[in-house]
């Protein structure tokens, strides 16, 4: 299970980074989504991986398997935030693409009025 989760995080991160380096808005946004999936699984795993454990510590019972509830709360927060942020960036990127007819992320090579020396 550790191998599965770890490789999932690794593959998602690698794919996400590759897409981010494409420097065009659509691949970059997909790449960032993949990165946030990776980080969500990573956060989830930071409370140790358990199967079938309730997130409750019982008094007086030693050695019972339980899952850490805090990372689950953190992941929920992170999912909500990244979801909202992705929606925002899609809107802004769409506006920039429709307005400028270009979906590059970098500054244009020679924008109007910039870099012209007298």
């Amino acid at each position: 299970m550790e191998l599965l989760v770890a490789s999932a995080i690794g593959i998602l991160t690698a794919a996400g980074l590759y897409l981010v380096f494409r420097l065009r808005t659509f691949p970059v946004i997909i790449g960032i989504s993949l990165l946030t999936y990776a980080v969500n699984i990573f956060l989830f795993a930071s409370g140790r991986l358990t199967i079938g454990g309730a997130p409750i510590l019982q008094k007086g019972v030693e050695g019972v398997i339980y899952s850490d509830p805090l990372p689950q709360a953190l992941v929920l927060t992170a999912i909500v935030i990244s979801f909202g942020m992705t929606a925002v960036v899609v809107m802004i990127a769409l506006g920039a693409y429709l307005g400028g007819d270009d979906d590059g992320v970098n500054d244009p090579v020679e924008p109007a009025g910039e870099g012209d020396k007298p």
């Binding site: 960032i32 409370g47 942020m85 960036v89 506006g95 500054d107 009025g113």
Partner: protein
């Protein structure tokens, strides 16, 4: 438990929805409430700073849950100082936004402005790392809206860059938090400080990775080279009042570095030894140099100011990375100065822009209200470049003095002095082209002189310059306050014990469930 400390977060959080819901179509009412909210913030922030000035550490447990389980807000000297700085800056920026009419060029400026303040205040006050992440997101999402306020293709494009860069930064922040939680099992800063100290020196791989990741995240916020690439485009293209407010955002990164790397990973901690002196200092010195080079090379006035911001953040980070009580005091003094100076410069650039075709550094007919604007630019440039008599010079002296007993003295002296010289050259070149040479360019026939900036705009920029002058005149008392602040930072035991030992729900495990 006093509830005052949560008000800097609550007040903007209440004013903003009120503005959106009730005053949506009335810019006048929006302005009144926005200004009233910020004035209220200044009063509260001053009260909190006064409360913290005798060294008291105010703790607020949300929902009355005890510290490592619940989220806490903590007000010590440093956080209340930053809160006060933010509130004062916000008032000046808001006045300029109203005076120049920027707030009326798009919708929801005031609501977003208040949400932005809420995020910044929360980031300064929180005592929990995950909560810091959440407040970072609050301030970022408001800043995305502000950044593209009033639209335009160039601005939208710069906005996309800004948002994407910060999204990646947030992801990195989550990776850092995950590894910290995996290593220590807590995210409360005071609790972390104790647990990191207890880590066995032979098993530090995870926590060292986490410390570096966290430093990278804060360095992105503080625009430290080589993570500064987001700053020039976004600050130059953002509406001027927004760019001026963003002057505090780079300081959020600097604040977080000071807080985390004095309390959780202090410089004498074996686990992360060398991180500050070997990496942070070098990056900061390079930032200082890159900033100066950018000031000299900039082809447009707004780019010049953005690079001077990178340079001044480099200066702040050089001082922070020395990590002695004296250097942190100097860093705090310089941080206040650089916030006001950068904000003033952004606003002045906007004054120039409002009656000039563009901001290229070529001679054009003189702008409206040239006399006053050029006087303001002259003063702000002196402050930013660090020439006597203004606080930039004093700040630089303090920085040099603080670096004197350390090993890095030669490097700090060399880079700081040379970059100051380059900054002076860059600013005087820009000033003489924009204001001086303008006299020799005749105005074309039929070219009407646009209206000069409004009185309120002058008042706002004048207020910032006035604050810089006050910062210079009262340098003695301010510096001694900064010294006590940094002493509090290097003796974090009262902070830790206040946070962890104040009783609340769950503070005794025996009490059982609720």
């Amino acid at each position: 438990m006093s509830h005052w400390i949560i008000l800097p977060v609550l007040l903007p959080a209440l004013v903003a929805p009120f503005i959106v819901l009730a005053a949506r179509y009335h810019i006048g009412i929006q302005r009144v409430f926005s200004v009233a909210g910020v004035v209220g913030l200044i009063v509260i922030a001053a009260g909190l700073a006064w409360q913290a000035s005798d060294g008291t550490i105010t703790l607020y447990q949300l929902g009355d849950w005890a510290a490592p389980f619940g989220i806490v807000l903590v007000g010590d000297r440093l956080s209340t100082l930053m809160v006060l700085l933010t509130a004062v800056l916000a008032l000046m920026v808001l006045l300029y936004a109203i005076g120049s009419g920027w707030d009326d060029r798009g919708r929801h400026f005031h609501a977003l402005f208040q949400f932005q303040l809420m995020g910044i205040m929360g980031a300064f006050l929180t005592g929990d790392l995950f909560n810091l992440f959440v407040f970072f997101e609050v301030l970022l999402i408001a800043s995305y809206g502000l950044m593209i306020h009033s639209g335009g293709n160039v601005r939208l494009r710069a906005g996309v860059q800004y948002v994407l860069f910060n999204l990646i930064g947030s992801t990195l922040f989550l990776f850092a938090l995950g590894s910290i939680y995996a290593e220590t099992g807590t995210l409360n800063m005071a609790d972390l400080a104790q647990r990191v100290m207890a880590i066995d020196p032979s098993e530090t791989v995870g926590i060292r990775v986490a410390a570096v990741l966290l430093l990278l995240v804060f360095a992105i916020k503080a625009a430290l080279v080589p993570l500064h690439f987001w700053l020039p485009s976004s600050y130059a293209e953002a509406p001027a009042p927004v760019a001026a407010l963003f002057a505090i955002m780079t300081k959020v990164g600097a604040y977080a570095i000071i807080r985390v790397y004095t309390m959780i990973f202090p410089p004498d901690l074996e686990v992360t030894a060398g991180l500050q002196s070997d990496w942070l200092l070098v990056a900061a010195l390079v930032s200082l140099a890159v900033g100066a080079a950018g000031v000299l090379a900039a082809g447009k006035l707004d780019r010049l100011v953005t690079f001077s911001v990178i340079g001044s953040m480099g200066m702040v980070m050089v001082t922070i990375s020395l990590f002695t009580p004296e250097s942190t005091a100097a860093a705090l003094y310089y941080m206040v100065h650089s916030t006001f100076a950068a904000a003033a410069l952004f606003l002045i650039v906007d004054m120039v822009k409002s009656s000039r075709a563009d901001l290229r550094l070529v001679a054009m007919p003189s702008i409206a209200g040239a006399v006053l604007v050029s006087a303001l630019f002259f003063t702000a440039a002196i402050a930013m470049a660090g020439l006597p008599p203004l606080s930039g010079f004093l700040g630089k002296l303090l920085v040099l003095q603080a670096s004197f007993p350390t090993d890095a003295v030669a490097w700090v002296f060399g880079v700081v002095l040379i970059s100051s010289l380059v900054n002076v050259v860059g600013f005087s070149r820009a000033g003489s082209i924009v204001f001086w040479k303008a006299k020799s360019v005749p105005r074309e026939e039929g070219d009407v002189l646009l209206a000069p900036p409004s009185t309120l705009s002058y008042l706002a920029v004048g207020g910032l310059i006035g604050l810089l002058i006050m910062h210079t005149i009262f340098a003695g008392p301010i510096h001694s306050y900064m010294t006590t602040t940094s002493q509090q930072l290097y003796a974090p035991e009262p902070y830790i014990s206040t946070v962890l030992e104040t009783p609340g729900k769950l503070s005794k495990p025996k009490e059982g469930d609720h």
